[in-house]
């Protein structure tokens, strides 16, 4: 529904925009380079290329639509005790303590809160965070959480 509407609007405004580009170019050429008629042909050819491109894209995708139907079955969030994907875990050298920190980050705790809950100093928490960010390729907590979830490190 929504995607459909977007597509319609795209057509309604994208195509005229393209035509506008061509039109502008034609006019410009008329006024600026009268004797370079070849370039006008260039523009026309360009328009043709654009049309071909669009047609090509549409045709390619149209056939692909049918194929897509099978691939969607992947998401199977069945209940059960979560297991933290050990492979990724020691592939990245993430220690148990760091995983613990990671969980707390995902719970939305601040550095201070984590320090309080784990009975360690805030500096320690920060150190764990830094090393965690390194190993996850993140540079922010929210990013770390997102990465960790896609890697299956946390629930």
């Amino acid at each position: 529904m929504r995607a459909r509407a977007v597509a319609r609007v795209l057509l309604l405004y994208g195509v005229p925009a393209g035509l506008l580009i061509v039109a502008l170019r034609v006019v410009e050429y008329r006024f600026l380079v009268v004797d370079h008629a070849v370039e006008i042909y260039g523009a026309i050819i360009a328009a043709l290329f654009a049309a071909v491109g669009i047609a090509l894209g549409l045709r390619l995708t149209r056939s692909r639509v049918v194929v897509r139907e099978v691939t969607v079955e992947v998401p199977v969030p069945v209940a059960g005790p979560f297991t933290p994907n050990r492979r990724e875990l020691d592939a990245r050298g993430i220690t148990p303590r760091e995983l613990e920190i990671l969980k707390l980050i995902a719970e939305g705790l601040s550095t201070r809160e984590m320090a309080g809950r784990l009975f360690v100093s805030e500096n320690t928490v920060k150190t764990h965070c830094s090393r965690l960010f390194d190993k996850l390729g993140a540079n922010r907590r929210t990013k770390a959480v997102q990465v960790a979830k896609t890697l299956g490190l946390i629930a």
Copy 2:
């Protein structure tokens, strides 16, 4: 609301189109100044147009694919197409734009990245964030994400 969406799409595709025009003009200028290699020029333009056309086609089809996915995904047991729990949403007065920001936060984007993706200033993003935190009873991004997930506002 609807007009707003139209306007946004217009912006999203109109502005790049405008940039394209400028880019073309710049290229043209360069080539005209250096020498009149019209054929090369034309070829480049043709390639650009073809690329744009293909991109456009892909874009159109991508949205088409999404529609397909939704219909297919229905028979899947637990995970259907995610719907943002409208009750909580307007119980808390969360606007569409704010929900959009919320999603980006959950993706781990920084203020700057969000601003770039939404074509607004960082200040605007920050404002949305603040109001969002109010409505979610959070005072941190990570917390906001956690709350939003438990409320079923985001996937």
